[in-house]
């Protein structure tokens, strides 16, 4: 607990902490952590409750992008993650809609609510990625889109009359779908992740994991992890952003054992042992999506939604966005890009 200036405390308490009165320093001291034994309940911890109420009123944004070849089950997975039809499946396209010739970016927003908390979820789909014969530079439209969102946010931030709450369209999380060949990553996967891991949080995911047996799965994951390490690709959670030991141990475990998550998605329910579960029915058995023995969907869901959702947003804001901003300001000679009667330097904290 950090302490305030000694004068504000009662003499009795003070005499335990500070033997003699000290002159007030000219420059405010750095707060020193001393374990204070509170004599009574102050109520500081109610700030958590206040924040919670605030968040529930305002709701929050989350933007998730899905990238991968067509047919890898991206839309199904997102629908399964958020338990609602937030993504339009490609198989429901009518016959005339073919694979687009260039990569398109389609962002669809939904508001979903749970337990009084409203979330404005935007799913950004990238049809056409990796589907052509010539896939050179097919990640460029995606990189451009991500940078455009940073630019939009920057422009808003730099305004004199700023909005109270800047609408956040920046991509918080990018799920990259790896095809379950069982061999190794494809050259396109490597190139994409190399270019984009510095710009956005990438979470690699092994799609359609019901193709592989348990041994094949663990072998494949090991090989993918090794390849990513050899090429210096930092996927989320990045090692350099672990804040403390607790984070580090938790994230290390995820990084070295679970990731990339091997998932199966489904929006159909079947009866198994008397319960209704999401799954896929085949002649040789039913694959349960939320069963940890079958696939790691539950791990992915817990990771993205239940434990690291806020962290994804923070890393996007504090690191990726700041990198972009610094680059932009540098290019502009230290001045903000929008020259509409704005001050030079400012630090912003949303």
């Amino acid at each position: 607990m950090s302490k305030g200036l000694p004068e504000t405390r009662t003499d009795a308490a003070m005499s335990e902490l500070v033997p003699e009165p000290r002159p007030k320093p000219a420059v405010p001291m750095k707060p020193v952590s001393i374990n204070t034994n509170l004599l009574g309940y102050i109520g500081i911890d109610t700030i958590i409750e206040q924040m919670r109420k605030k968040t529930m009123k305002t709701g929050f944004d989350f933007n998730i992008m899905v990238v991968g070849q067509s047919g890898l089950g991206k839309s199904t997975l997102v629908n399964t993650l958020f338990k609602s039809q937030v993504s339009r499946k490609a198989s429901s396209w009518n016959r005339e809609e073919k694979i687009p010739k260039t990569v398109e970016i389609k962002a669809i927003g939904h508001v979903i609510e749970e337990g009084g908390v409203k979330m404005k979820l935007t799913v950004i789909d990238t049809p056409g990625f990796g589907d052509q014969i010539n896939n050179e530079n097919c990640w460029e439209p995606i990189e451009k889109y991500i940078n455009e969102q940073y630019e939009k946010f920057l422009k808003e931030e730099v305004n004199i009359a700023r909005k109270k709450r800047i609408p956040d369209t920046r991509v918080h999380c990018c799920l990259y779908f790896i095809s379950p060949t069982g061999h190794s990553l494809r050259p396109l996967d490597l190139e994409f992740m190399k270019h984009l891991s510095k710009v956005v949080n990438i979470i690699p995911v092994i799609a359609k994991a019901d193709t592989m047996t348990l041994e094949e799965k663990s072998e494949f994951k090991q090989r993918v992890r090794k390849e990513l390490e050899v090429h210096g690709i930092e996927f989320y959670p990045q090692k350099e952003f672990d804040e403390d030991l607790e984070d580090k141990t938790e994230n290390d475990k995820i990084r070295q054992e679970s990731m990339p998550f091997a998932v199966v998605g489904s929006d159909k329910e079947y009866q198994v042992n008397g319960k209704r579960v999401l799954g896929r029915k085949t002649p040789w058995g039913i694959i349960e999506v939320e069963n940890l023995h079958h696939c790691e969907f539950a791990l992915l869901r817990d990771f993205v939604i239940r434990t690291h959702l806020q962290d994804l947003k923070e890393v996007t804001h504090n690191i990726h966005y700041e990198t972009y901003r610094a680059k932009r300001l540098n290019d502009n000679g230290g001045l903000p890009p929008v020259s509409v009667d704005t001050e030079g330097s400012h630090d912003s904290n949303p």
Partner: protein, 369 residues
Amino acid sequence: MSKQQPTQFINPETPGYVGFANLPNQVHRKSVKKGFEFTLMVVGESGLGKSTLINSLFLTDLYPERIIPGAAEKIERTVQIEASTVEIEERGVKLRLTVVDTPGYGDAINCRDCFKTIISYIDEQFERYLHDESGLNRRHIVDNRVHCCFYFISPFGHGLKPLDVAFMKAIHNKVNIVPVIAKADTLTLKERERLKKRILDEIEEHNIKIYHLPDAESDEDEDFKEQTRLLKASIPFSVVGSNQLIEAKGKKVRGRLYPWGVVEVENPEHNDFLKLRTMLITHMQDLQEVTQDLHYENFRSERLKRGGRKVENEDMNKDQILLEKEAEKTFCKIKKVFQMRNTALCFQEIVGEVSIHTLQCLWPENLIF
């Protein structure tokens, strides 16, 4: 039967029996001694289970020391052609099987030049055969022409990819294409049906000529006709390959063990592996024939029209070559039926009490699949 002098194969029960009904036996014995040749090409992206399927089909290990390259190595690599030949022998019949693998296909970021290497390989084999055929010593022509190409379609897409369409259109006039849906255990039955229909529609839409099984002739029995009908209805075959033996329902089967069940490779309800094998075996002869009569002849006429090196041979023995071909064709037609039956027999897994030296074994009723 004509009333001629009986030869040495007198069957005392039937008067007037000449004995040329034993001709097929002689043909059979000769071809058994000579052995058969078949070249199969497999094309598809890496990781679709091509090698596993080939090993499962022929119950051998064609790739004993295989190193799978990482993604970085794949960036540098171009498509390569690797031909491995293996001699399989079963019940005295030899099959010289060549499997032509195409690693690197579909791996690169830019796959525009993927199929140039493959097409030039196919043309090279035709060229070599043409050269040998028109040469002086024609006794030992080695037939390395590609008789059949298994094209592996990924089960993860929604149908054919642009690369699939472009490749098939480039080679459908040169080789028999058999489309195969790989790793079929990824799909539920409904998804499988949908994908098959989608692929067939797209094949028709782009006018791709895949290999069509010939209809069963009218003098075949009902079982065979039914079987052919079933085979035709299942194209493209969706297969699962495996060489691991798994314990299921008390016996050891080849399959894949998942936490939610066992996929049996040889169970027709699980996938079309058996159908693919049946098709390959019963139509091996037909595949060779179509390659010879259609694709090779196309190539040959194109080649000779263009001129090239064979101009001087063209007039010289053309008529003679044609006459010889006619004679050979008639003889081949007799050979055809029996060779077909023989090859089918040789790959049966179920041990039957069939004697090779009786005519009966050559009739269809005894074929078990």
